[in-house]
């Protein structure tokens, strides 16, 4: 009886140790691949940063009408954004190579699923990026217009426009990623409706003041006349 127990323990220990010994080269390969990919990513990042700065990438991007990208970039530099994106892509590739050394079939399955998902992921990223840029652009335009019209609730309007666009693009991105399903649609509808209602209330309450001021100005002929004193053009 004791012999059988001893034999079973020996066999299981050997099995575990053998399995662990089999895993070690793969694990070492994974660590080496990740370390190498970090080095390559750093080198690539350095070279890319120098080249992009050399061609004044940030300035050119602003010249192409995409100055909003700097707002969502680290340190307001689209160059750094591109460099960091490339950096993490290289590290991801290195990790995939390492996992392939670890277990080829697992990697194959992972890569297949990853590549199948990649288009959706990329579209979602692009949606988020452009949504952000458009949201900031529109919010700024609304804010400037509101200040120039001397509206008291310009910031609120601008914030409302910004979040409307961000929420819309976030919902679109989540739908592309296949996350949440109908819950996202439902939540989006509730949130969007809520924002519109809040804005309507805000504008309604704000315009009360506006209407009263407008009536005051109509009542006061003197003010009208004084405004007519100025000719800008």
């Amino acid at each position: 009886m004791l012999e059988k127990i001893e034999q079973a323990l020996n066999e299981s220990t050997t099995k575990v140790l053998t399995g662990f010994a089999n895993l070690l080269p793969g694990l070492a390969a994974l660590i080496v691949a990740v370390l190498l990919s970090v080095l390559v990513a750093m080198l690539f990042g350095f070279l890319l940063r120098r080249s992009l700065r050399g061609i004044d990438f940030d300035g050119k991007l602003a010249g192409w009408g995409l100055p909003g990208l700097s707002d969502i970039s680290p340190d307001r530099s689209p160059t750094l954004l591109v460099v960091r994106f490339v950096y993490w892509c290289i590290i991801l590739i290195g990790a995939l190579i390492g996992i392939a050394a670890f277990d080829a079939t697992l990697t194959q399955q992972m890569v297949m699923r990853l590549f199948g998902y990649l288009p959706n992921f990329l579209v979602a990223i692009v949606l988020i990026l452009f949504g952000n840029v458009i949201a900031r652009f529109l919010a700024r335009g609304v804010l400037i217009g509101a200040v120039n019209m001397n509206l008291p609730y310009g910031r609120l309007l601008s914030l409302g426009v910004k979040w409307l666009v961000i929420v819309l693009t976030a919902a679109m991105a989540l739908e592309h990623l296949g996350i949440g399903g109908k819950i996202v649609d439902l939540a989006f509808a509730i949130l969007f409706g809520g924002i519109v209602l809040a804005l309507a209330l805000a504008v309604g309450l704000g315009s009360k003041d506006l209407v009263s001021r407008s009536l005051e100005s109509q009542a006061s002929q003197r003010k009208e006349e004084s405004e007519a004193q100025f000719h800008h053009l």
């Binding site: 300035g59 602003a62 010249g63 009408g65 100055p67 909003g68 652009f137 700024r140 335009g141 804010l143 400037i144 217009g145 509101a146 200040v147 120039n148 001397n150 008291p152 310009g154 910031r155 003197r222 003010k223 004084s226 405004e227 004193q229 100025f230 000719h231 800008h232 053009l233």
Partner: protein, 411 residues
């Protein structure tokens, strides 16, 4: 021969039929048959004195129905053209109309082309006579009107356009963007010439083109500035953005020229100035100051993208002052304008947003200026504007330095 794509095939045929002319005059404001008839009645007596021998071609908007032309007066020919009424400073309509006028003028070999964009119907003949005369008889290439300035008239021109163009190009032209102007054949050729560099803007004002090309420019005293067609109260932000967009874009095209200019010199002015009436009325600037203060609160992030830290601090201090003590110093105003010029060049944010974000600062300047000049005599107002122009000239090295080295530390 100049290209005539802008006018209809029928009008092109008519140009070929006319053959040649000594003067071409555009009347964009005559958009109806009655207005055109009245204008022609006023212009006909003036033409022989201006152009003893030679034909005059009058361009009118193709929306108007022209009166029947009498065969016994072949010296005056009418030609329909795609002209739209000029809204002063609204570049697109003026630009297109001017191009049509100059194209027809060069095709017909005219010595002078006259655009009467903002003249009132009653003063068309006087305007034509005074503007065309220096070009036809004194050898000038460009004649523009110099309007008599009331203290609160043409404020964009008084506060930005005139002082800035004077400091940049060195010529003291009171109204560089006037919609009434007479151009010689040399300037017409220059205006229609395609840009040497494809990326350079082909648009721009005739005044700056003439000055940069070293042509002879003069002014002619006219009455008060005509009332603009556009509604100022609703379109101020847009109008300001349009004016400044043209001005700032031209600065990029002419950077090589204006960076060499130091100081400014007077330009020959024909005629006699109209005496300015003294107006002493209290001004109401609360709304303008309020817009400036709101801008300081809400648009500070946008201003911070272009303004130097020192200017920004001064603007914030100014926003805290009560209306009666509200004064925007000339140096601060000039720095703010120059910083916007540089921000526009570097495209720090969308150019349209940047220019529209200037409106509260501009209104701040208007409020400060109005408070300062409300009780001043006309001569003192002119002195006040002269001091502003001198500030623009004195601080020009700051603009040149930051234009050349935008990344240099700037406190």
């Amino acid at each position: 021969m100049a290209a005539l794509e802008t006018i209809s095939a029928e009008a092109r045929e008519r140009v070929e039929h006319i053959g040649e002319a000594g003067m071409v005059v555009a009347l964009p404001s005559c958009h109806s048959g009655e207005l055109l008839e009245a204008a022609l009645a006023g212009l006909r007596p003036v033409l022989p004195a201006l152009l003893a021998n030679g034909r005059t071609v009058i361009l009118y908007p193709d929306t108007a129905i022209a009166p029947a032309q009498s065969e016994d007066a072949p010296s005056v020919q009418l030609l329909p053209c795609p002209l739209s009424p000029v809204e002063r400073y609204h570049e697109p309509s003026l630009e297109q109309g001017l191009r049509s006028l100059l194209s027809v003028g060069r095709t017909l070999g005219a010595r002078v082309c006259v655009m009467l964009g903002s003249e009132a119907a009653a003063t068309l003949a006087d305007g034509l006579r005074k503007l065309a005369d220096p070009v036809l008889h004194h050898g000038y290439d460009l004649a523009v009107p110099l309007y008599t300035r009331r203290k609160l008239d043409s404020l964009i021109n008084s506060g930005i356009v005139y002082p800035l163009t004077r400091a940049l190009y060195g010529a003291r032209l009171g109204y560089p963007m006037a919609a009434d102007l007479a151009l010689s054949d040399r300037l017409a050729d220059l205006y229609l010439r395609p840009a040497a560099v494809a990326s350079q803007s082909q648009t721009g004002w005739a005044t700056t083109k003439a000055i940069c090309a070293g042509l002879q420019v003069c002014q002619v005293y006219r009455g008060y500035a005509p009332t603009p067609i556009v509604s100022e109260r609703t379109d101020l932000s847009m109008s300001l953005a349009q004016v400044l967009s043209t001005l700032f874009t031209e600065m990029e095209s002419n950077a090589g020229f204006w960076q060499r200019i130091r100081g400014s010199r007077p330009v020959r002015t024909f005629g006699q100035p109209l005496p300015v009436e003294y107006e002493n009325s209290a001004v109401e600037v609360h709304a303008m100051v309020e817009t400036f203060q709101r801008g300081c609160r809400d648009l500070l992030d946008i201003w911070a993208a272009v303004q130097s830290p020192g200017t920004l601090i001064d603007l914030k201090k100014l926003a805290r002052l009560p209306v009666d003590k509200f004064r925007l110093a000339d140096n601060l105003w000039v720095h703010a304008i120059y910083d916007f010029v540089l921000g526009h060049r570097q495209r720090v944010i969308s150019r349209e947003h940047l220019l529209r974000a200037m409106t509260p600062i501009y209104l701040g300047w208007v409020a400060s200026y109005a408070l300062e000049v409300q009780n001043l005599e006309p001569a003192a107002v002119e002195e006040r504007l002269e001091r502003l122009c001198v500030s623009f000239e004195t601080l020009k090295p700051y603009l040149v330095s930051r234009w050349r080295w935008p990344d240099r530390f700037n406190p």
